[in-house]
């Protein structure tokens, strides 16, 4: 019996340790990529609902569609679109990372998180200046 309680104590110390080890989803890269995946996913979902409704206005009249789309062409919405693309690009690359974790090798999940961040930065560098030029010119 004393032996068992010593074992229990050791395992408790292990699980309450401030530095979790050997888990994909508790703390550090694994957890933060998961948190970001959820937040970006929810944001994209609600945008998608609105986006289908606004596009459906093409079936109402050209005036109705142009009216709502012109509100997307303002500077404030332009910044919103930048945030939306940022969310989509992260969700896309991190989604591919999840697929690679599931079907290839979970060992590289941390490295792949930084690859996701890197690809996200590169994609945003290609997109943001061009988009902001389109939004803020004339």
């Amino acid at each position: 019996m004393p032996q068992q309680s010593a074992e229990t104590l050791a395992s408790q110390q292990k699980t309450t340790s401030r530095r979790p080890a050997g888990t994909l989803y508790r703390g550090r890269e694994g957890m933060w990529s998961w948190v970001l995946h959820r937040i970006t996913g929810v944001a994209i979902f609600f945008f998608l609902l609105v986006h289908i409704l606004d596009t459906a206005l093409v079936r109402v009249s050209p005036e109705a569609y142009n009216g709502v789309i012109s509100s997307y062409q303002t500077p404030i919405m332009g910044l919103g679109e930048t945030a939306l693309v940022a969310a989509i690009v992260f969700h896309a690359f991190n989604g591919l990372r999840i697929i690679l974790i599931d079907f290839w090798n979970a060992k590289y999940q941390k490295v792949m998180f930084y690859v996701v961040i890197g690809l996200w930065v590169v994609t945003m560098l290609a997109f943001v200046p061009r988009h902001l030029m389109n939004v803020f010119s004339d």
């Binding site: 929810v42 459906a56 062409q73």
Partner: protein
């Protein structure tokens, strides 16, 4: 009355094997399969609508009409609509299962998600396939140039 204890290390017993489709498994597979396709579809969508030419400032009825009369973009958009809404709806269902604590809120939230997904898929599909690029009585300067060609 004696009860028999299972060996401590034996795997937990599942309820007698249920026959039928394992929906959670197919949901899991769907998220990954649709995800890969959606990366291509949505990156293409964003590139064509926001990067090429004047980007967002070039979007108007005539631009969308030009795309939606093309079977290639029709198919692209319908695929994107179905795959994205089901992917998003299933993702939201996962969050509701994780965070909604009572049976009632879970039921309300998941039925709302299902309703939103079904209504928008029907609406979007109808819009894409019943679209009229040259509605009668609309000012010609709002319509795509091919409307006045004949």
């Amino acid at each position: 009355m004696s009860t028999t204890l299972e060996a401590p290390r034996s795997p937990y017993s599942r309820s007698p094997k249920k026959r039928g489709i394992n929906w959670e498994k197919w949901g899991w597979i769907y998220m990954r399969a649709s995800g890969v396709v959606l990366v291509v579809l949505i990156f293409g969508h964003l590139f064509v609508n926001l990067m090429i030419g004047e980007g967002v400032s070039a979007l108007n009825f005539a631009f969308v009409a030009g795309k939606l009369t093309n079977p290639f973009w029709q198919t692209w958009d319908v695929l994107m609509l179905w795959l994205a809404l089901i992917h998003g709806g299933n993702g939201m269902r996962t969050l509701v299962n994780d965070y909604a604590t009572t049976r009632l809120t879970r039921g309300i939230l998941k039925s709302s998600i299902l309703a939103a997904v079904v209504i928008l898929i029907v609406l979007g599909t109808l819009v894409i396939y019943t679209f009229d690029a040259c509605p009668a009585g609309s000012p010609a300067d709002l319509l795509p140039s091919f409307c006045s060609a004949n």
